[in-house]
C-alpha cells in the first residue's frame, strides 16, 4: 500500500499524460481490430450457406468452392517450389558458409531486398517474365512461381533463426560421434529445428492465402475449377476483391471475406502454437 501511494505521488502531470496516451493508443488499436473483424463477421456470417460451397460458380450462385480449391493448389505448389530453396539457402548460410564472407553478405542483401519489394512489383515481374517471356500465359503455374519468389525471404529468415537457435553443443556432439556435416544437418539439426521451420512455413501460407496484387495479372480472373496448372484461376482473396469491387453481390462478398478471415486466423493460431512448442522444447 505504502509503495503504491509512493509511486502515485511520484507521478507528475506529464507522467499522467504519458500514461494516458499509451493506454489510449493500446485500447484504440485493439478496438479497431475488433471492430473490423466483428463488422465483417456480423455482416457475413448469416450469408454463409451450403450453396456457397457448390461445385461451380454460376451467375445465380456465387460459389466460392472453385476459389477455395485454387487457393489450396496455389499454396501446395508454391510451397513445393519455395520451401526447398528457402531451407537449403538457410542451411548454407548457417551451417556451411563462413560467417561474414562476401557471398553471404550479398545473399543477405538480396533477401532483404526481396522482402521489401511490394507485391504489385512482383505481379508486374511475374507477368513480364513468367507469363510473357517464358510463355506460361496467365496460369496457376506463373502465379506459383511469382509467389514462390515473394515468400522466399520469409522462409529463409525463419529457417535461419531456428537453425541459429539450435545450441552448438548439438553440432559438437554429432561431430564428436564421428558424423559428417551432412549427417549432422539432416539427422541432428533439422529434426530439432523443424517446428521453427514449420512455423515459418505456416506464416508463408498466410501470405499466399492473402495475396492479391501479385496474382491478379499472373493467374487471371476466371472462376472455374482449374483443370491443370496451365489453366487460369482465382484464389479466395482475389475472389473477395472481385466480388467487392463489382459490388453486385455484397452479401456473398461478406460471406467470402468471413471464410478468408477464418482461414487466415486458423493459420495464425497454428503458427503460434507450433512456435510456442518449439520454444518450450528448446528450454
Amino acid at each position: 500500500m505504502e509503495k503504491i501511494l509512493k509511486t502515485i505521488r511520484r507521478k507528475k502531470p506529464m507522467d499522467w499524460l504519458r500514461f494516458l496516451l499509451v493506454w489510449a493508443s493500446g485500447i484504440l488499436t485493439i478496438m479497431v481490430l475488433l471492430y473490423l473483424v466483428a463488422f465483417i463477421v456480423v455482416k457475413g456470417l448469416p450469408h454463409i450457406k451450403p450453396s456457397l460451397f457448390a461445385l461451380n460458380y454460376t451467375p445465380e450462385n456465387q460459389s466460392l468452392f472453385p476459389a477455395l480449391v485454387t487457393t489450396l493448389i496455389m499454396v501446395g505448389m508454391t510451397l513445393l517450389i519455395a520451401v526447398p530453396f528457402g531451407v537449403f539457402t538457410a542451411i548454407y548460410l548457417v551451417e556451411y558458409a563462413k560467417r561474414g564472407s562476401k557471398l553471404v553478405r550479398v545473399i543477405r542483401m538480396t533477401t532483404e531486398t526481396l522482402a521489401g519489394i511490394p507485391s504489385i512489383v512482383y505481379g508486374l515481374f511475374g507477368y513480364i517474365f513468367f507469363c510473357d517471356w517464358l510463355g506460361f500465359g496467365k496460369s496457376l503455374l506463373a502465379g506459383c512461381f511469382t509467389l514462390a519468389i515473394m515468400i522466399l525471404p520469409l522462409i529463409i529468415r525463419t529457417t535461419e533463426e531456428s537453425l541459429k537457435s539450435i545450441p552448438d553443443a548439438y553440432r559438437e556432439g554429432s561431430f564428436g560421434l564421428g558424423a559428417g556435416r551432412l549427417r549432422t544437418v539432416f539427422r541432428v539439426i533439422l529434426p530439432s529445428a523443424s517446428p521453427g521451420i514449420f512455423a515459418g512455413v505456416i506464416l508463408s501460407v498466410g501470405r499466399i492465402v492473402g495475396e492479391t496484387a501479385a496474382l491478379i495479372f499472373t493467374i487471371g480472373g476466371v472462376i472455374r475449377l482449374p483443370e491443370n496448372l496451365m489453366s487460369q484461376g482465382r484464389t479466395l482473396a482475389l475472389h473477395v476483391y472481385q466480388l467487392a469491387s463489382q459490388g453486385l453481390y455484397p452479401n456473398e462478398a461478406y460471406a467470402t471475406a468471413v471464410i478468408l478471415l477464418m482461414v487466415v486466423f486458423g493459420i495464425n493460431a497454428l503458427s503460434g502454437a507450433v512456435e510456442r512448442r518449439f520454444i518450450n522444447k528448446l528450454k
Binding site: 507522467d15 519489394i117 507485391s119 492473402g210 495475396e211 471475406a257 487466415v264
Partner: protein, 297 residues
Amino acid sequence: MIQKRKEQIMRVIFQIAALASILAVALICIFLFAQGLPAIMKIGPLEFLGGKVWRPTVAEPVFGILPMILGSIYITGGAIVLGVPIGIFVAVFMARICPKPIYRFLKPAINLMAGIPSVIYGFFGMMVLVPLIFDLFGKRFDMMSGDSMIAASILLGIMILPTVISIAETNIRAVPQELYEGAIALGASHERAVFKVVLPAARSGVMAAVVLGVGRAIGETMAVKMVAGNQTMLRLPYEYFKGVRTLTTNIIVEMGYVERDSLHFGALIATGVILFVFILIINLLFSILNQDKKGGK
C-alpha cells in the same frame, strides 16, 4: 569415400539454392528495367517524371506520372502522421508499461492484425470508412463520393500499425535495463524514465520501424485502390477530401485493359520501375538505421 563425395555434392546443392535469391533479384531488375527504361527514354525522363497530365488512351497520349508520385507521397505522409505516433505509443505500452496478462492478449492480436489480408482491409475501408467520410464531410467539402486521400491515409495508417509496433517494440526491449534503472535511481518516475531515457536510446530502431512502415504504405496496392478514388488529376497537399491515384494503383487500374507492346504498357512498367527505385531507397535507409543499432551496442 562415397560419404565424402556425398558431402561435396550436397554442399554444392546448398550453395546453388542459396544463389536463387540473387538470381531472383537480378531477374527482377533486368526485366523491369529492360521494359521500363526504353519507355521512359521514349517519353522523355523529364516529361515522364515531371509531367502533370496522364492521358494514355487519346490519339496523342501523354504520360506524366507526377500526380501519382505526389499521390503516393501524400497518402503515405498521412498514414505516417496517423499511424506512427499511435504505433510508437503502443510499442512503448507493450514493451514497458502494460501488465503481463494484457500483453499476452495484445501480442497475438497485433500479429493477427499483421496477418489480415489487404483485400479485407480494403473491403472494410470501402464499406465503413468511405461512407463514414462521405457522411461527415461530403457536404462541407463538396465531395462526389467518400473515396478520397483521407480515406486511404486512415486505412493505411491502420495497416502499418502492426509493422511499426512489432519492430519498435523489439527495439525498445533491446535497450539495456541499466539505463532505465539509472533514471529511476535519479528519481524519475516510471513513465518519465521510459519516455525520456529508454525511448531516446531506442531512437534508431524506432526510426527503422517508421521507415519500414513507409515502405509498406508506399507499396500497398489493393486496399488503396478500393478507397482512394484513383483519379489522375494533380492534387495539392490540402485537397485531402478529393480522390487521388498512387504509383501502385496506376499499375493495377490500367493493366487490365492496356494494349500489349504499346507505349502505354511500357509506361506502366516504368511506373513500376519508379516504385521499385523508391522502395530500394527506403530499404537502404532501413538497413543503415538497423546497422546503427548493432554498432551502438
